[in-house]
């Protein structure tokens, strides 16, 4: 069995009257990716701050890399790297100087080589000697993450690493996380996007108002939430009935004249569905493919819609 790199139990934190973390327990296996999924204000950043020694919990224990965050702060700090929600780069230094600053503070040997290596790995070599203030949001995030990796920390915390990034930069970020894990690093990441957690994580925990409402592998979680489906709208109740008789397992909505057909929404299955309808001369007025998103997760797990999640 693999050892656990991050273990939180009974984590509790309040700011004044407001309880932010209400008894959280989880466990992250060494060399795995653990994703904490939740909307703004769920307590994700507070969790990261407690795990990374920046904030003290009011109750509960956390061990990171085998050390207690409250009493063995120094040992914990030596083992971790943190990339916060907002890029913490020095804008008046160049990319190279930012990395060099980290290398110097961590007393890394042959710092020049380490810095050059990271610049190349993160595709920043061309802009290495430009001030970070001239970097795009995606480049800044990359530099931020590269700075976190100086000195090769064993456990990495990423707080919403792709929020505000364009799709391409997001993909790059995902590739980097996968590489890290392949190299044996443990990654704890928070996100608002189900898709991201699904792509990257070995285990997902869903955080809502300071409580973990679900925990498991992406597969386990998805079984708890409605899967993707195709929605067909018809012009008459007659056609709706005919289609419903044809497609077993579909859910009929007489009021809106729609039919929910479970399926993965892929091209093949859509083609099959459409040709089946054509074969029986049933005319669908409108078709839409629906994949589960954070709203569905929250609706399924908490029984209420998640109003705060930002549109993507």
């Amino acid at each position: 069995m693999r050892t656990s790199d991050i273990a939180a139990s009974g984590l509790w934190k309040a700011f004044g009257d407001k309880v932010v973390l209400d008894g959280i327990d989880f466990d992250v296996a060494a060399g795995s990716v653990f994703s904490m999924l939740g909307p703004n204000g769920a307590g994700k950043t507070t969790t990261v701050n407690v795990l990374t020694t920046l904030l003290k919990a009011d109750a509960g224990t956390v061990r990171v890399g085998g050390h207690d965050v409250a009493t063995e702060t120094r040992e914990v700090r030596a083992a971790i790297g943190v990339t916060g929600q907002f890029a913490a780069v020095d804008e008046l230094l160049t990319g190279r100087e930012n990395l060099r600053l980290m290398a110097d503070l961590k007393r890394v040997r042959s710092a020049g080589q380490v810095v050059t290596g990271l610049l190349e790995r993160f595709d920043l070599a061309e802009s290495a000697d430009k001030l970070a203030s001239t970097y795009s949001a995606g480049m800044r995030r990359k530099l931020d993450l590269a700075m976190t990796l100086v000195g090769g920390p064993r456990i990495i915390f990423l707080d919403e690493p792709t929020t505000g990034l364009d799709p391409r930069s997001r993909r790059t970020m995902w590739d980097i996380v996968r590489e890290l894990v392949a190299g044996g690093t443990t990654v704890f990441l928070t996100t608002q996007y189900l898709e991201e957690a699904d792509h990257l994580a070995d285990r997902i925990a869903v955080l809502d108002q300071g409580r973990l409402v679900a925990q498991g592998t992406p597969g386990e979680l998805k079984r708890q939430i409605p899967g993707s489906h195709v929605r067909l709208r018809f012009t008459s109740i007659h056609e709706l009935d005919a289609a419903a008789r044809l497609l077993a397992g579909a859910t009929q909505d007489d009021e809106n004249l729609t039919l929910r057909v479970p399926g993965d929404g892929g091209v093949k299955s859509l083609q099959a569905l459409l040709s089946l309808l054509t074969e029986h001369s049933i005319d669908a007025d409108e078709l839409s493919v629906h994949t589960p998103d954070l709203d569905d997760v929250f609706l399924a797990l908490t029984g209420r819609a998640n109003t705060e999640v930002s549109a993507r």
Partner: protein, 247 residues
């Protein structure tokens, strides 16, 4: 100084070098003000001695004050832009972060003071100070730089935004004008005169004036050093407690 402090110092030094506004405010502006007072207004003031000899010590303090706004803004920038959390997770001590700012502020002040003194000599400044007087004058200057730097770091830590941090140092920049820097306090109107006589910049400037003229007044020197110690201690304690509260 610890290695971390040296690394932070190098970082702050690069910041200063890359920010022309900082250099302008700290070095050129005091020189411009000195030229203005000495050339345009100097003849209108009768201060008993050659005006450049009278004004130079005051301009030295003005140079110290003008460099402070940039430091307050930079300290605040560090606190509000998230980089401080990175340093904390890396176990960089708060001492190293603050020392870096204090030392760079002092260096910047000393450079601008050197510029002021250089220009003053060009304008006919002829101090009659001996070697010992010069040494003592440098000591008073360094003490004043040190004290105001800590106070400024504290202001930077306490402010909410870099802009408000820079604004909060404006009183420090104005204080020399309401001291004996430009004209003797005795020539000022009721109210302003009392203020000028009892505010910290006056004894500091008067002690420098005495030392550079070769006729130091022990009373002013002691008062100057006492003010510097007081301001320095208040600034240091304020900075350390604010730092602890903030992060």
């Amino acid at each position: 100084m610890s290695t971390d402090a040296l690394i932070m110092l190098r970082r702050n030094f690069k910041h200063t070098a890359r920010n022309p506004v900082t250099v302008f405010n700290a070095v050129l502006l005091p020189v411009v003000i000195m030229l203005m007072f000495v050339y345009m207004l100097g003849n209108a003031f009768s201060v008993g001695v050659k005006y450049i000899d009278y004004a130079t010590p005051g301009m030295i303090l003005l140079a110290v004050a003008y460099g402070l706004g940039a430091t307050a803004a930079e300290v605040n920038d560090d606190m509000t832009k998230g980089i401080i959390n990175r340093f904390r997770v890396m176990d960089v001590s708060r001492g190293a972060v603050m020392t870096g700012h204090v030392v760079v502020t002092m260096l910047r002040s000393l450079i601008s003071i050197a510029a002021i003194i250089g220009v003053a000599f060009g304008l006919g400044f002829r101090p009659s100070a001996g070697f010992g007087d010069w040494l003592a004058a440098v000591g008073v200057i360094v003490a004043a730089c040190f004290a105001t730097s800590w106070l400024t770091v504290a202001i930077g830590l306490a402010a909410k935004t870099p802009q408000s941090a820079a604004m909060a140092t404006v009183p420090l920049v104005l204080l020399p004008f309401f001291s004996s820097a430009i004209v003797p306090a005795a020539k000022m109107g009721q109210g302003v005169r009392q203020f000028a006589e009892y505010q910290p910049f006056t004894p500091i400037i008067e002690s420098l004036r005495g030392l550079l003229a070769g006729s130091p007044s022990a009373g002013y020197v002691i008062a100057a050093l006492a003010w510097c110690a007081g301001i320095g201690i208040v600034g240091y304690v304020w900075a350390v407690t604010t730092f602890r509260k903030r992060v």
